[in-house]
């Protein structure tokens, strides 16, 4: 089975709202797209449509959180992490408030709308804020966990969500944990540390390279902040080469986070960065965009080939 991440998020949120009456949901006139409207339909008294006013929406959530509510704020990723940023920094994170930010259309998943609607800097922005936790789910089950986790965790949480359909990756009984990554495919020659859609692209790449005799390990780094330092260092030691892969600018995102760990504890391990090469993107069919900007299986393969050439 494969499900659209936004659909899973919307229905899980509505379901959690049945049990937990403290959950309140806000949207900025995109609830039909972000699927926060599923919650709105089920719990209209706890759903607030703020109009096209992201700054007001996040700051309102900051206030709601001080009355015992657990506000989930929703809009497109790029608007949330730009227009919503001042309150996210000055109130939510500085005050360590219990606000949950759902960035609905990450990466280029709002493909045809073009670069203005693509979110390719959000991980860098959100992970640089003290007190913020950054989680990127990669399938239905990890999205369910991430949403449940956001309710349970006391403090700000940023969920990087996609408009797109992701294949299933995890078994029903998988246990997820903040600060942990998951080895989703074993391998010995190189580790691809990926998040979100790129976990699936890395799995495709690993399958293709297997035929060429290359053994690729794939890690789903669904918790980007805090990050699984121990796992990164173990992969560096065991496979001797690292490729990071994300639907995000190569600067400041997952690649940056992994590099910080490698620089500290495994300097010199060859590393390559698969991601958007510090450029604005464009409109088009999603799969063509992923190919053009090098964030598909071929892009991951190219990264692996480069890193293996450098591996001694």
């Amino acid at each position: 089975m494969a499900k659209a991440i936004r659909e899973v998020y919307g229905s899980v949120l509505a379901e959690l709202g049945e049990k937990n009456k403290d959950i309140v949901v806000l949207d900025a006139d995109l609830s039909g797209s972000t699927k926060s409207g599923v919650f709105g339909k089920a719990h209209p008294d706890r759903f607030f449509n703020m109009g096209i006013a992201e700054s007001n929406m996040v700051a309102t959530a900051a206030g709601l959180s001080t009355t015992g509510k657990i506000p989930f704020v929703n809009t497109f990723t790029v608007f949330l992490t730009t227009l919503g940023l001042i309150s996210t920094r000055a109130q939510v994170c500085y005050g360590n408030l219990n606000v949950k930010l759902g960035g609905a259309y990450c990466g280029m998943s709002d493909a045809f709308d073009g670069s203005t609607h693509h979110a390719t800097e959000d991980i860098a922005v959100m992970r640089s804020l003290p007190n913020m936790v950054v989680v990127v789910p990669s399938d239905e089950r990890s999205t369910r966990w991430a949403t449940e986790f956001a309710v349970e965790h006391k403090g700000p949480v940023y969920l990087r969500l996609s408009r797109d359909v992701y294949p299933d990756l995890y078994a029903e009984d998988t246990k997820f944990e903040l600060g942990k990554g998951a080895v989703v495919r074993e391998g010995a020659d190189v580790t691809v540390i990926a998040c979100g859609l790129l976990v699936h692209k890395a799995m495709e790449a690993a399958e293709i390279l297997k035929e060429k005799g290359v053994s690729v390990r794939v890690v789903d780094m669904y918790s980007i902040k805090p990050i699984d330092k121990e796992l990164i260092l173990r992969c560096a030691a065991e496979t001797g080469a690292i490729v990071t892969a994300e639907e995000h600018n190569i600067y400041g995102g997952l690649g940056g986070a992994v590099s910080e760990v490698l620089a500290w504890g495994a300097a010199g391990v060859p590393t390559e960065f698969v991601g958007i090469q510090d450029t604005f993107t464009e409109s088009g069919p999603y799969s063509q965009l992923l190919a053009k900007y090098g964030v598909d299986a071929n892009g991951v393969i190219a990264g692996i080939e480069k890193v293996l050439a450098r591996k001694k």
Partner: protein, 276 residues
């Protein structure tokens, strides 16, 4: 209830002392915002020392009234009020803006009694709106007050919240504008004309009350009237004087964020009837 003559005299005396203490603290660290702290003095003092249902021994009481100081640069006057209510030690004013102090340059959640961080302007009304929504969901009788500056009315987010609070019919929310007509670079008229502030708020769906923001009786009546309005939020446009109480600071943009020299402080204290 109208304030008794005796109570007005007591509160005015507190305001006099608070002004002196705030100026001393700003002088002590040679940093801070005297002008806007003085203009908001009666507004904050009336709310904290007379109106609000708050208790320092129960700082997390779910039914406490809330206040958001959206014009966070007036923090010293907020801190002096919190000291008087027992949220902070009496001697803490001297730690203002110093390393390790709970009294940050702008309000932070480190400070007991502070309900919301503030500093970047334009965000407090939205946060207060969120509190009002949450309290209503909780069936709490608590009220939420938010104090904005007039320069702050330049910020777009203010008008986003101005639009949304009436939509949600937040009659438990009272906004107060410290209308001192001076911002950092000059008068509001020079920097960004506010035009008819009352008409603007009215057109967004608010009940609007205008009063003298240094007259405790007028302010108190305005708060009484706001509490009786049950179909939406109220904004009190409180006319004030920037730097109120110190002749050489009154109405002067230069005193928005300028610390006092030793001479300035001595003159100011003398005018306020204090002792050096």
């Amino acid at each position: 209830m109208p304030l008794s003559k005796a109570r007005v005299a007591e509160l005015n005396e507190l305001c006099r002392v608070f002004r002196i203490d705030v100026l001393k603290a700003i002088h002590g660290i040679q940093s801070g915002h005297p002008g806007g702290s003085l203009s908001v003095c009666e507004i904050l003092t009336l709310l904290y020392q007379e109106r609000m249902n708050i208790d320092a021994s129960k700082p997390k009481d779910p039914d406490r009234d809330r206040l958001v100081l959206s014009k966070g640069h007036a923090a010293p006057m907020l801190y002096r009020n919190l000291i008087e209510k027992g949220f902070l030690p009496k001697d803490s004013m001297a730690t203002l803006r110093r390393i390790g102090s709970d009294l940050q340059g702008h309000p932070s959640m480190h400070t007991p009694g502070v309900e919301m961080p503030a500093g970047p302007l334009g965000l407090g009304l939205s946060a207060a709106q969120g509190m009002a929504l949450g309290l209503r969901l909780n069936n709490s009788p608590a009220r939420v007050y938010v104090i904005m500056g007039d320069g702050e009315q330049d910020e777009g987010t203010i008008w986003e919240a101005a639009a949304s609070a009436p939509k949600f019919k937040l009659s438990n929310l009272t906004a107060i504008i410290d209308y001192n007509k001076v911002q950092l670079d000059g008068t509001t008229e020079e920097i960004m004309p506010l035009r008819d502030l009352s008409a603007k708020w009215h057109s967004f769906g608010w009940s609007v009350i205008e009063c003298n923001g240094h007259d405790l009786r007028e302010l108190s009546s305005a708060l009484d009237a706001a509490a009786k309005i049950d179909d939406g939020p109220t904004v009190i446009i409180a006319s004030t004087v920037k730097g109120k109480g110190v002749s050489f600071m009154e109405g002067k943009a230069a005193w928005h964020g300028k610390p006092l020299s030793d001479d300035d402080l001595a003159k100011a204290i003398a005018e306020l009837g204090g002792e050096n």
